[in-house]
Amino acid sequence: MRKCSVYSLNSLLTFNQYVLNAYYGQDMALLKALEELHRLSREDFQRIPELAINPLGDRIINAFFPEGEDQVNFRGFMRTLAHFRPIEDNEKSKDVNGPEPLNSRSNKLHFAFRLYDLDKDDKISRDELLQVLRMMVGVNISDEQLGSIADRTIQEADQDGDSAISFTEFVKVLEKVDVEQKMSIRFLH
């Protein structure tokens, strides 16, 4: 099981369409071959300068690694990446009876929800919101101001009165947002 640099995987990603079609088309042979070859660790991701300077870099890297594991294989990598596939691509591979594709609006929102939900209890608590906010603003905003931002956000979103944001409440707040445009990456051919 060799470790490989993320860049060498970039050239594999030019076969993105092949692989994702294989995934949705359940081409197990191809997937099995690919998944045995490469593994990535957190250090591999941290070596990407543009990711290292991203305020939410650590949360994004975390999204790739399953619970308690330090390595992600190619299949897991592609699964996470698949969240950012444009929704319109689903028109081409319509499978009404299949599982909901990873890049559906709902799954994209779930991905964003998990960025906030640090302890994976399906709720965004005030504390978790504060921690993520702190990552995004650094040292430039005081605890008090940040606290009031967090309070306001929870107040607006919370509907069942538990002072936390559940996934349903999260979806409701973001119902007018163009998730497709903000959370999709288009490949050039």
């Binding site: 640099s5 860049y7 970039n10 050239s11 990407i48 300068p49 991203n54 990446l81 603003v137 040292v139």
Partner: protein, 438 residues
Amino acid sequence: MEGTELAVQVVGTWLALVLSLILLPSAFGVSLGISEVYMKILVKTLEWATLRIEKGSPKESALKISASGGIIQRDESPMEKGISGHRGRDFELSDVFYFSKKGFEAIVEDEVTQRFSSEELVSWNLLTRTNTNFHYISPRLTMVWVLGVLVRYCFLLPLRITLAFFGISLLVIGTTMVGQLPNSSIKNWLSELVHLTCCRICVRALSGTIHYHNKQYRPQKGGICVANHTSPIDVLILTTDGCYAMVGQVHGGLMGVIQRAMVKACPHVWFERSEMKDRHLVTERLREHIADKKKLPILIFPEGTCINNTSVMMFKKGSFEIGGTIYPVAIKYNPQFGDAFWNSSKYNMVNYLLRMMTSWAIVCDVWYLPPMTREENEDAVQFANRVKSAIAVQGGLTELPWDGGLKRAKVKETFKEEQQKNYSKMLVGNGSINTESS
């Protein structure tokens, strides 16, 4: 014995041929046209190979990455526009989308670290080392490839090594001899002659085809020449068309011998390792050098490290603080004939030179740009960026603000802090935060 006599005869003929066909003409700057013929045959062969490959795999041509473009569509708008339409608005849960999309774009296509490894070719050029995505196409193509291997390793490689040996020995002997003469204009003229001859021989040793553009802007004495850096061969390429004073560290081994010999013939600026750390000392010595208008222009590579010739990375401001006139030069290699990039973490110098000598050829374009000087209201960093843009535009390279030092070091935390600051400014706006629910 007959065996040794035969061997001596073969080697003798070989050397005589090399001498008459290559060395002597180089000394006089004359070309016999042999390399032009070679290049023509090579270009035709590679074109044929490209056509065969495209015919052989129609499906894959749909997935080809363009040579200089990216593989994803990137939204380069600044943070304010990316998160919302206007400034000074409140935090929303959707803000996280912006950062996560940027993060994923970086993962899918890392603009920075890809510059520290060789450029991927759009079409295979019949060298084993660039064969990453291409499969077996046809027996004819394979035969051509085998023929290529034989030609490169059994004919070209010995030839090139012979030439390189002659070139370097002549350089060392020549400069030592010229160094014995007293300082005079004859000494300078002879020194230039020795330099140019040996450089031409060394360029032939790599089957180099170099096109110089805009020779009227060639760097003058008392100036500083800056160029983008791809490999140690850059030095060879530039010195074939003019004489420069080199700047750099004193090395040991073969490089050290060459350096010491060169210094005897004309003044270069070599530093001890300890001296390189003292920025003021370095700046002072360089200033002294260019103040003397009779001394050769200094050659500096402000990127500080080798980049893979698809982009120009951050120019370190040190060279731009010295003052004087800057003569920018853009160097672009044609990757189809051989990859000139020195990946120093992968290959050492000897390995690298062997790879160079077993490529088809080194083909490059050199553009001399009009001289630039620092303007009144510009600081060294802005001036450096201006020069960098000019070089990038001329050479058709991407311009990146990232430091070439990221090859070995981690990126500084200050960049992340800058992003955090920008985001905070967006939230806080003109100093007030909306704490009441609207």
